[in-house]
């Protein structure tokens, strides 16, 4: 895994300005964020709530601007949002007036792919996520798990260079979550996808990733990196393996140590903090 990384993030800084009695106050949410993801690699950004993970995902996709720093895709500066990097949303964000098929075709429609090809590709990815037979259902007729499969199919069908997943399984119940994790791994085995996976679940990060970036509390930045050397393909057994438990413990220790240190109030207004 050498050469130009698929995703290269350099020195990102993000400040949110909020109104306050003494004029707009800056809230530093990300500071000095640098990391790279190699092609075909599955990397998790793991951190406590409020550490700016979601903001990071939105910046990489191009939905948010930055105060400083840059994002490179395949060595080129990432331009405006486009099909090269697709976001899978936390709350599914399906269009309620479109069926499963219509939602999966959405990204391809925006890219201007002809109807026949769109249809064919959409059906292929619907099958891949196990939703064949549900093409004509509307989102509200689906369970949370099925809605997120639709969201995943929608992103995959755009055939992006990489997937950015923002706590995609955060809103489904524990059992469905396990099932969706297994499906995601199966899909990643079948096709080469580069994934940046944002989560606050240690188990999820360890089970899915090749590498975990542990983020500090706000302002968020990767403070440690853990390689996950669990053998692939990983099945349900991997979750109870000795090595899994070891890695989970290591990550959990880092998180406890680093985030409690960083949790000392960084929410001050206006100022930008360095440590």
């Amino acid at each position: 895994m050498t050469g130009t990384p698929a995703l290269d993030v350099r020195d990102l800084r993000k400040i949110f300005f909020q109104p306050s009695p003494r004029g707009p106050a800056g809230l530093l949410v990300l500071d000095g964020v640098s990391f790279a993801v190699q092609e075909g690699e599955f990397v998790s950004a793991l951190g406590p709530s409020g550490c700016g993970k979601t903001t990071l995902a939105r910046i990489i996709v191009g939905l948010e601007d930055v105060a400083a720093g840059s994002v490179f895709v395949d060595g080129r500066p990432a331009g405006p949002p486009g099909p090269d990097r697709c976001l899978v949303f936390q709350n599914y964000a399906l269009l309620p007036w479109r069926t499963v098929l219509g939602n999966v075709e959405l990204a391809m429609e925006i890219q201007g792919i002809p109807r026949a090809e769109r249809r064919e590709r959409a059906r292929r990815y619907i099958e891949l996520v196990g939703l064949t037979g549900f093409e004509k259902r509307y989102p509200h007729q689906l369970s949370g798990g099925m809605q997120q499969r639709t969201g995943l199919a929608r992103a995959l069908a755009a055939e992006p260079r990489m997937l950015i997943m923002d706590e995609p399984f955060g809103a489904v119940d524990a059992q469905m979550r396990t099932l969706l994790q297994d499906e995601l791994l199966r899909i990643c085995d079948r096709m080469t996808v580069t994934v940046l996976f944002v989560t606050h679940s240690i188990d999820e990060a360890v089970y899915l990733s090749d590498r975990i970036l542990v983020f500090s509390a706000r302002p968020g930045r990767p403070v440690a990196e853990v390689a996950v050397d669990l053998p692939k393909p990983r099945g349900g057994g991997a979750r109870s393996s000795h090595r899994f438990i070891e890695i989970r413990k290591a990550v959990s220790d880092i998180l406890a140590e680093r985030t409690s240190y960083y949790r000392s109030d960084h929410e001050a207004s206006g100022g930008i903090h360095h440590d």
Partner: protein
């Protein structure tokens, strides 16, 4: 409990019978009665008066409503998308929405005379505001989250409008259309009363001036039928255009 429609039919029949019995006992100028009204209906169909009047009314109604729909959706959409436009137009829309359009008829007569133009404008004004206000609400209500989805896939401004903002507004627009249909029917009858006497509203005036009470009921009942038909048409269109709302509708039914 019997089938609900049995009770409905029985209720209507009972009122008709009571009306028939009571009406026959009165001077026909005051109330008339169902059999006489049915006779008048047959007569007015025979002479072609009813058809001519209905066509006249429908013409003003459809033209006025069509214009209100196009201009209303367009204006509401622009107001929802551009803050400057909404700030500029909002005072006028709010003021005119709360003005009874009957009050404006003398002015419309002064500007546009008594002909079809004046009628179309009165109908248009009556139907316009519920459509504008609902379209605006629908566009305004579009969730930023859904806009972000299409933005994340690289959508242009135009694609954001056609793929998210407009479909999101359709249920709102259709609710406005349903309101507007009722107001348009009131508008057209009022226009026919106060501008050149034509159409079904005109027949009402003509027959009431002649104390032909049985005949007077014919255009009134035709207007009832027209209103019901148009409202169900609007509901049907709403169902066709918003299939994803079907289960919500079923739940509240």
């Amino acid at each position: 409990m019997r089938h609900p429609s049995v009770i409905r039919v029985a209720s209507v029949l009972a009122v008709l019978v009571a009306w028939e019995l009571y009406g026959r006992a009165l001077n026909p100028v005051f109330l008339s009665y169902p059999v006489a009204i049915a006779g008048a209906l047959v007569e007015l169909i025979g002479t072609g008066e009813l058809l001519t009047a209905t066509v006249q009314t429908l013409r003003s109604l459809v033209a006025g409503f069509g214009i209100a729909l196009l201009v209303g959706v367009g204006t509401g959409f622009l107001m929802g998308r551009y803050r400057l436009i909404s700030l500029t137009l909002d005072p006028f829309v709010t003021a005119l929405y709360n003005t009874p359009s009957v009050a404006l008829i003398p002015l419309i007569q002064l500007w546009f005379g008594l002909g079809v133009t004046a009628k179309v404008i009165i109908v248009g004004l009556s139907a316009f505001f519920p459509i504008v206000i609902n379209t605006y609400a629908g566009v305004h209500n579009t969730s930023q989250g859904l806009v972000d989805v299409v933005r994340a896939y690289g959508a242009t401004d135009r694609q954001i409008s056609t793929k998210v903002v407009l479909p999101n507004s359709v249920p709102f627009i259709m609710a406005g259309v349903r309101l507007a249909v009722g107001r348009a029917v009131i508008g057209v009858v009022t226009a026919e009363f106060f501008t050149a006497i034509t159409g079904l509203g005109g027949l009402v005036i003509v027959f009431s001036n002649a104390f032909a009470t049985a005949k007077l009921f014919v255009p009134v009942l035709t207007l009832v039928a027209l209103g019901l038909t148009l409202t169900s048409l609007a509901k049907w269109a709403e169902r066709r255009l918003t299939p994803w709302k079907e289960s919500e509708r079923a739940a509240t039914r």
